[in-house]
């Protein structure tokens, strides 16, 4: 019953996506393309000139692919969860019309979450495919990175939507992007190992879900993963997801049933 209700909610988002899929695919391809050209071919050539123990014998391009993938997935997850949830919750939004039907607030949330999950998988596959064209990742590792990227996406979508459903002004969405998402992007080990950060900043990085996602993906991609660390990363991201879903279900109910 609950599953079918969530699928009904998903149907709405798929209808909407029929209008925008071409543009979204262009973005999903162009984004990694630019990164690979600028960082893999440009910056990477500079770095690969000197032997670097942090790279474990890999090229810089191979090093940043998992970081870029996970960070890009986080960014897309936030952008697709925050703005649309805010719009949907407004008095004229689609959440309001769905609330008048047998769908419950939790069903409406689950339907949207399913859509984010599909989009994250699509986004990750395209991203990895572009990187593979540059020889920065092989097929086996690429296949392993996709589920990790989806886990990270859900770990961000769930809390982001739980928050966005309560937002009253669109300016708050921009602030969150600028002051939370962008710093995460910069300082969670996307472009360089966090050991390069000042020592007092490193514990901050350990606490961020993005670092767990990136370290997990990088360990798998560079074959440096250890079982305990992998388990910690997955557990941390799973806990973030579970808490986000619980808060979202509560907040959706409170906002849609006033």
């Amino acid at each position: 019953m609950t599953t079918t209700a969530a699928v009904r909610g998903l149907t709405y988002w798929l209808f909407r996506y029929r209008r925008t899929w071409r543009g979204s695919i262009v973005i999903s391809v162009v984004n990694p393309l630019f990164f690979m050209i600028a960082l893999g071919l440009g910056l990477g050539k500079l770095i690969d000139d000197r032997p670097n123990p942090q790279l474990h014998g890999h090229t810089y391009a191979e090093f940043i692919v998992p970081g870029l993938l996970v960070a890009a997935v986080m960014q897309t997850a936030f952008l697709e969860a925050a703005g649309p949830v805010f719009q949907s919750t407004r008095p004229t939004g689609n959440y309001r019309s769905a609330s008048a039907t047998p769908l419950r607030p939790a069903d409406i949330f689950h339907g949207h979450l399913l859509f984010w999950l599909l989009r994250a998988a699509q986004n990750a596959i395209l991203f990895i495919a572009v990187c593979a064209c540059f020889g920065a990742v092989d097929l086996v590792h690429a296949t392993l990175l996709v589920p990790i990227a989806v886990l990270v996406a859900v770990a961000f979508c769930a809390p982001a939507s739980a928050w966005a459903v309560t937002v009253d002004r669109p300016a708050k969405l921009n602030m969150m992007f600028r002051f939370v998402i962008l710093p995460l992007y910069m300082f969670s080990g996307t472009f360089f190992p966090i050991e390069q950060l000042p020592s007092w900043l490193q514990p901050v990085a350990w606490a961020t879900p993005l670092w767990h996602g990136i370290d997990l993906a990088r360990g798998v991609a560079l074959d440096t993963a250890t079982l305990p660390l992998t388990l910690i990363h997955v557990a941390y991201l799973a806990a973030f997801t579970a808490a986000g879903i619980a808060f979202a279900r509560r907040n959706y109910r409170r906002q849609l049933y006033v």
Partner: protein, 312 residues
């Protein structure tokens, strides 16, 4: 044949818990019977929309009981909503989708199988006179068309009760009449209508029975004719005066009829016979700039009950 009420509210109360708690609905009782068109008439802020949202099961009841289709609104929200049609005051159509897609998506929310849904879409587009608009974007529709589409959407699950919150607010006269005609058709087909409005002509046109709400309470209940008979006189004499002698003339009219209302733009005298009251006014030396005799309407009922006009 039993006529158990479809909607039954007892001491229904709604308090919004904010920094300043606000009670929008203050212990109202009413019943809506199968097949009738029931109206809730009131000015803005009277508690009409709050009442409608509770009946639509998207707003928890603070206290009292609310039974809809024999079920409890607090417990059976999903099952009740499955059998209701809701036309909200805010236009919640999806402007990113076409007319037809709006109906399809909404039908899927109710779990209607695709095949049956496509057929029903055709029927509803015809019913709402939008047959040739199916593939157009909602953003290209006029206000009246949008409202008709919203009604078509609300009918997708063949509801037993249709809730309409101020269905014609913001529409031009022609669009309103077309909408009323469609609602009348639904009533003929046996759909129970529950509508809120602040237009007395709408209430008179459509409602078999109505309640008048003011400041969260029901202040009167009955058929439009009943209410007029109980709370107003048969006829009404309206007088307008030139500004410079307005007050003098108003003073002269005092006591001509039992009830006289002074409104910002006119003087209203309640009487059984407007022409003879007008003669009596002339005999007192009153020289109105304009005089108009009409039958009493719900507007007069509202004025009597609340001391205010409906649309300010």
């Amino acid at each position: 044949m039993t006529t158990a009420p479809l909607i039954e509210a007892r001491d229904l109360t709604k308090t919004y818990v904010t920094s300043e708690p606000y009670t929008a609905v203050k212990g109202i009782d009413f019943e809506v019977r199968p097949g009738e068109a029931f109206g809730v008439l009131g000015a803005n802020g009277a508690g009409k929309s709050s009442t409608m949202r509770m009946i639509a099961c998207v707003s928890p009841v603070t206290s009292g009981t609310l039974r809809i289709l024999g079920m409890d609104a607090a417990r059976d929200g999903e099952r009740i909503r499955a059998r209701l049609g809701v036309v909200p005051q805010d236009d919640t159509l999806d402007t990113e989708l076409t007319v037809r897609e709006n109906l399809l998506i909404y039908g899927r929310y109710f779990g209607i199988p695709w095949k049956a849904l496509r057929e029903r879409c055709d029927q509803l587009l015809a019913f709402s006179r939008l047959e040739d608009k199916g593939s157009q974007a909602v953003s290209t529709l006029s206000g009246g068309m949008r409202r008709r589409l919203t009604i078509a959407r609300a009918l997708i699950n063949q509801p037993e009760i249709l809730l309409l919150d101020e269905p014609t607010t913001g529409l031009d006269p022609q669009a309103r009449h077309l909408l009323w005609e469609r609602l009348f058709q639904l009533k003929e087909d046996g759909v129970t209508l529950l509508l809120t409005t602040h237009y007395m002509d709408e209430a008179e046109q459509l409602c078999d029975r109505l309640v008048v709400m003011d400041a969260g309470k029901i202040v009167a209940e009955g058929s439009p004719a009943d209410l007029i008979e109980r709370h107003s006189t048969r006829e009404v004499l309206e007088l307008r005066f030139a500004a410079h002698e307005r007050q003098l003339m108003i003073d002269k009219c005092a006591g001509v009829t039992e009830r006289v209302e002074v409104l910002p733009d006119r003087l209203v005298l309640y009487t059984g016979d407007g022409e003879s009251t007008l003669a009596a006014v002339h005999a007192l030396g009153v020289r109105p700039a304009g005089a108009f005799v009409r039958r009493s309407t719900l507007e007069d009922v509202f004025l009597t009950l609340t001391g205010r006009s409906l649309v300010e």
